[in-house]
């Protein structure tokens, strides 16, 4: 019975990683850059929902909407101000370093605005826990919501990319930026849209993350950000189903490793598995091999 409980907890944790990993993987797929500030956008999203829901007393729906809107705007501003001017930079390292800089900037701004004291995040999701097997198995409401929401987001995103013009444009830009531009695709607009979607999802991920693990500090986003980045690489960076598979596998391995191998070594186990996967399949589980065209 414990095993099933661990598995469900793992899938729930993995679902949060998957939603965060989407932000990394979409941006990487389309702009070919690692947005290390993504984890901190999550933290900002959590704070915004905390302020609107717990401090200003707005309902859950406006709180979520405001949080998504703010994060979307923030993502677009970061892209416009910090990344776009560097897109043509000689070294691809420039934009990577800038991303790390933005990450620290967001953390320190949050430290100034919200203070270093942690706050207790009150979950706005009031779903009663699911009791199975005669009360032996208690699945919290937030766990159910997280898993369901993760699947819904994945589904909507896949349909969006396959069926809409903007989605097709994203696909085109990720295949070949210059050719897409020649075909009349607005590359800059598409990249901005990608950042907008990724950051909007970051707000949702932040709310889910803090609802399940309710202590919020300016550093809340850092570690989940790194784990989700790992999940994205694990599943094959650039691939949307890969983010789902990588995220959930990572969550399950982390929890099961902690339960059955060692509670201290869970992170070491996660990263050891990552190394093995990358050795066997360098592009990640669902990643496509890239052929250099000459």
């Amino acid at each position: 019975m414990s095993f099933i409980m661990y598995l469900i907890n793992g899938i729930s944790l993995g679902s949060v990683y998957a939603i965060i990993a989407l932000g990394y993987t979409m941006v990487y797929g389309i702009a070919k850059m690692l947005n290390f500030a993504h984890g901190d956008v999550i933290m900002i999203g959590s704070y915004i929902s905390f302020v609107t829901f717990s401090q200003m007393g707005l309902g859950p729906v406006p709180a979520v909407v405001i949080s998504i809107v703010v994060c979307t705007a923030l993502g677009m501003i970061i892209e416009r101000v910090a990344y776009k001017p560097l897109r043509k930079a000689v070294s691809p390292l420039a934009v990577l370093i800038t991303a790390i800089g933005v990450s620290y900037l967001l953390q320190n701004v949050a430290l100034l605005v919200f203070g270093a004291n942690p706050v207790s995040y009150v979950s706005m999701i009031a779903v009663p826990p699911l009791k199975l097997a005669g009360g032996e198995l208690t699945i919290t409401g937030i766990t159910v919501i997280t898993i369901v929401l993760c699947l819904v987001i994945m589904g909507v995103l896949m349909v969006f990319i396959k069926k809409t013009k903007a989605g097709q444009a994203m696909l085109a830009v990720s295949e070949d930026k210059d050719a897409a531009q020649l075909m009349g695709v607005n590359v800059n607009g598409t990249i901005a849209l990608t950042f907008a979607i990724g950051s909007g999802l970051a707000a949702i991920a932040g709310i889910l993350l803090c609802s399940a693990y309710p202590t919020l500090t300016p550093y809340t986003g850092a570690m989940p950000g790194i784990k989700a980045f790992t999940a994205a690489v694990f599943g094959g960076i650039g691939s949307i189903p890969g983010a789902l598979v990588g995220g959930i596998l990572l969550g399950v391995i982390e929890i099961l490793g902690r339960a059955y191998i060692s509670s201290q070594l869970s992170d070491a186990i996660v990263f050891a598995v990552l190394i093995i996967v990358l050795l066997v399949k360098p592009t990640g589980i669902l990643g496509k091999p890239i052929f250099e065209k000459v």
């Binding site: 320190n108 207790s120 208690t138 869970s266």
Partner: protein, 389 residues
């Protein structure tokens, strides 16, 4: 050109943000260069993840120094205080120590957190400077004879907790979760386990977490629940304890919870549902709602100056400054003496000092630097601390 301007603005913003955190770390005290003032330095994390502890210490030290100056100073000399940030980083802490020495520091009231304190303690020992740490609780901190502690040592807390649980019959099957990446937590855990074995307490589940995986405790709690634990010993800080309490409730696991001084602060955690902490027991030297006059006056003053309720770190720091005063008066030191002379005089005087403070009455010190005071057990009832005894 436009791009250049934007990137310049951006770079400037980032640089500003780096310095913004340091803005508050300077001291309010006078920085006059005369030999008629005692120069006390403080070091602790005022920014970064442990900022809550460092800023509490900085604020409380300032309050104590202001009070002492208003009442005529130490041995008739005024005191000036300068506090430097170390971001809970050993290397930065040593840098902070060096810059305080350049300023002319004679006595160090710090550092706040254990790992940096171990590094700085080696420096003060080499310089013969007197050091008293409000809150760095590892025994490694006091391995040099010039360093004294206001707080309990980690092993002390571990054995006191085990004794307390056994004496009061609080639980028979004990589950433990501890932070294996933190010397404070694992130090308490090791001693608790040893003491529990000799007292015949049964430990049915023990599991760890690390600083990188400190948000999910479902596995550790499930393990304890399966093992039938009726008391959970939680020797770590309240940020994590808050999550443990919530997750335990969510999974329908309701043992007794027992924490140590790191648990203090859980009630002041903003927006925390205090009903989760109902019945939680902890050993703490300081309770902000204690009825004695000294505590009330301090809490009131702290609230007026900084707009929040002080935690035990603030209380330890406030005591630290007054302990320096008591030792300095016993040894009759003056500011014109050298750092080493003051250090020797103060450490010689410490074992004879007996001090009644916020964090204990009749506090006395071993020559090794360890403090003797009684731990106080409190239980949280209706959102406030109530004494168990």
């Amino acid at each position: 050109m436009k791009k250049r301007v934007i990137s310049a603005v951006l770079a400037a913003t980032m640089v500003c943000s780096l310095f913004a955190g340091c803005g508050g770390s300077g001291s309010k005290g006078g920085e006059t260069a005369d030999a008629d003032t005692f120069r006390i330095g403080g070091i602790g994390p005022v920014t970064g993840a442990a900022a809550i502890y460092g800023s509490a210490v900085r604020n409380a030290e300032q309050i104590a120094v202001d009070e002492i100056n208003a009442a005529g100073g130490i041995n008739g000399y005024q005191v000036s205080l300068k506090f430097e940030d170390d971001e809970h980083d050993a290397e930065k802490s040593v840098n902070a120590y060096n810059s305080l020495k350049d300023w002319g520091m004679q006595i160090l009231a710090g550092t706040v957190t254990t790992t940096p304190c171990i590094a700085v303690a080696d420096k003060t020992s080499a310089d013969g400077m007197f050091e008293i740490t409000p809150s760095a609780s590892s025994t490694d901190v006091i391995k040099n004879d010039n360093v004294f502690q206001v707080c309990f040592t980690d092993p002390n807390q571990g054995s006191a907790s085990a004794k307390y649980i056994s004496d009061k019959g609080l639980g028979s099957k004990i589950g433990i979760i501890y932070d294996s990446s933190d010397v404070y937590s694992s130090g308490i855990y090791a001693k608790f386990k040893e003491e529990a074995a000799s007292l015949g307490l049964e430990i049915v589940s023990e599991s760890a977490f690390t600083a990188d995986s400190n948000t999910d405790f479902s596995v550790q709690l499930q393990d304890a629940k399966d093992a039938g634990a009726d008391l959970m010993f939680l020797p770590f800080y309240y940020q994590q304890a808050a999550i443990v309490l919530k997750q335990a409730k969510d999974m329908g696991f309701a043992p007794a919870f027992f924490g140590v001084d790191g648990m203090d602060g859980i009630l002041t955690l903003e927006n925390f549902d205090t009903s989760l902490a109902e019945g939680v027991m902890l050993l703490t030297p300081f309770a902000a709602d204690a009825a004695d006059e000294k505590t009330q006056a301090f809490v009131k003053k702290y609230n007026e100056e900084y707009g929040e309720t002080p935690n035990q770190f603030a209380a330890d720091a406030y005591d630290a400054i007054y302990i320096i005063k008591a030792a300095a008066e016993a040894a009759n030191v003056t500011p014109d003496m050298s750092v080493e002379e003051i250090g020797t005089a103060l450490k010689g005087a410490m074992p004879s000092v007996s001090y009644d403070g916020l964090t204990g009455s009749g506090m006395k010190w071993e020559a090794t630097g360890e403090v003797n005071k009684e731990p106080k057990g409190v239980v949280i009832e209706n959102g406030v601390y109530v004494s168990i005894d």
